[in-house]
């Protein structure tokens, strides 16, 4: 069953066409990677799915419901979460509070002004558990801006998964990390997205081929291939447009 379906989605900004008729189905539990050269429109595609941009035409369905042109908060509440390429945390809160805020809606707190968060034991336990999972327990009371880069990315991931979303969109999660940091990050991603659907934009081909069940290739706003890693590797169109070097040193 496809948890996410895009049908002929296009997006233009004025005269400029960024996404030109993308159709894609993502299955439940799938680990899907989207690759493509810079400027192909990968982030734009994410923005369209997560509600930051409206589509110019086409439809997007999530768990059978239309989500295109809905507000981000409506989409998030349906169980779709995302992380950002440029770290997008709550700078003036500490690490613990960042995670706790991400837990609020899915734990039923809504817009309550009568619950005192300090006394909500279950909630606070959940937040600590997540901090444990992402390895930031000892940094719980640090201001979020004082973390090292890789730790901020871990927090970024933590905020995305805290709400218990069924589908996670990760936008270049290991960008800017050293090799060992990236390894740890991938390990973390694997752990926290177990049993969930993952869609990832990534440039590092080793990670992509390692993690993904299926890969889609986006070039100039068009999906030129969507297949298993092996088939993608051997696809001549993809090799021509993008993969060139990897195919030769495989």
């Amino acid at each position: 069953m496809a948890i996410l379906s895009l049908h002929d989605v296009t997006k233009s900004f004025g005269e400029t066409s960024i996404i030109r008729g993308v159709s894609l189905d993502i299955q439940v539990g799938e680990k899907h990677a989207i690759i493509g050269p810079n400027g192909a429109g990968k982030s734009t595609l994410f923005h369209l799915i997560s509600g930051r941009y409206n589509v110019s035409s086409g439809t997007i369905f999530f768990k059978g419901e239309t989500i295109h042109n809905k507000a981000p908060y409506q989409i998030a509440r349906l169980g779709l979460a995302r992380s950002f390429q440029v770290t997008n945390i709550f700078p003036r809160m500490n690490v613990f509070e960042n995670i706790r805020c991400a837990l609020l809606w899915s734990n039923g707190y809504r817009y309550s002004f009568w619950h005192l968060l300090g006394r909500e034991a279950k909630l606070n336990d959940k937040a600590r558990a997540i901090l444990d999972e992402i390895g930031l327990s000892d940094k719980a009371h640090f201001p979020a801006t004082e973390l090292a880069y890789a730790q901020q990315r871990a927090l970024e991931l933590g905020i995305a998964i805290a709400g218990g979303a069924e589908m996670i969109l990760l936008d270049e999660p290991v960008a800017g990390m050293s090799h060992s940091e990236a390894e740890n990050a991938v390990e973390l991603i694997r752990r926290v997205t177990e049993g969930k659907t993952l869609v990832m934009v990534e440039h590092d081909m080793n990670i992509v081929f390692d993690v993904a069940d299926r890969i889609s290739v986006l070039v100039y706003g068009e999906l030129i291939a969507s297949d298993t890693p092996e088939n993608i590797r051997n696809n001549p169109r993809v090799q021509e447009a993008y993969l060139g070097e990897v195919a030769t040193d495989a």
């Binding site: 709550f90 003036r92 609020l104 899915s106 817009y111 002004f113 619950h115 968060l117 300090g118």
Partner: protein, 408 residues
Amino acid sequence: MLKKLAPWIGFLATMIILPQLFSSILAISILNQMAIAIVFALAYNMLLGQGGMLSFGHAVYFGLGGFMAVHALVMIEFETVYFSVVLIPLIGGLFGLLAAIFIGSFSTRKAGTVFAMISLGIGELIAASSLIFADFFGGEAGVSGDRTFGPLFFGVDFAQDVEVYYLATFWVFVATVFMYLFTQTPAGRMANAVRDNPERAEFIGYSARKVRFISFCASGLFAGVAGGLFAMNYEFLTEENLNAATSGRVLLMAYIGGLGYFIGPIIGAVILTLMNSLLSNYTELWMLYLGVMFVLTVMFLPRGFAGFIMMHQMAWHHGKLKNLAVPYLITGLPALICLLSAVALIEMTHTQDEMLQYLGMSLNTASAFTWIMAVAITAGTAYGTRRSLGQLRIAWENANEPLTGDRE
């Protein structure tokens, strides 16, 4: 547990003791003004400091709450209704809330400049309308009432200002507690989140608009309470209490005190009330000094007085605070003298008299010597302050050095 409650107990105790220490009529009047200002400034900061929404028209909720409160007083007086005047601030609060619900329904869609402009427009609109709708607002003359009617409250009829002060203390304490607790709730925390990163807040499931709306309504409620306290104290409200000047004043209070700290607006309210009531007795130019202080605060102390105090947290934590005492003195003393002599110069320029009474001295404004001295002292101490900044900076860095064993 006691450690957490200590500041609150201290707060309440201070408020209760103050009129015993300063019992003159003037002092009580000033304390009452402070109480009103504290609630108003804290309410305003729910919007600006915690919600990130800059409003230039918050006096609307203060004023509307106040007007409703005065009308309630009139109704009690003419026995249209019968309840104790101790509930008047609550009436103000409820009406402020009503107004905020109505206006917030369309004004909280966006934050930033659009919100600021809407608030300005609404503020002007309502202030101007108040002169047209003379029935509710009393036109140019305003509306007045009498707080001594209605059932007695444990034998008190609130004829005396100090009685009003103790009533105000109760409401200030209750309001402050609730405003503080709000910051610890989901609504309060998400208000902070939306302030800092509205986009991310949406992506974790919250409508930024709705979060802002709730903060807006809460802020209107407590501003209305402040208006009700004003009505109890002065028994008289005019268009002035709705206008841009009043809105501007509360912005000043919150900003000077420090937006990012809960206690900031309290500090700002106290400072501004003191300047308003005490300083104005000594010089006509106090508003000028206020303006200068405000601009300098925005430029050099963007986190306000509370921020300035909190800057020393690390040094205090390290036990190195006393190391800063002497450096502060070395810089502070010439700076203070510079300030005082600059003020003397300004006062001398402004005064019509030949002899200016300043800080216990009699300065002869006709004498060239006085002028030369004043200019020399100002210039000299300014230079001295400048030169001493270096040693202060070094001392500051030393005091804030991370200790070994701190975080990497």
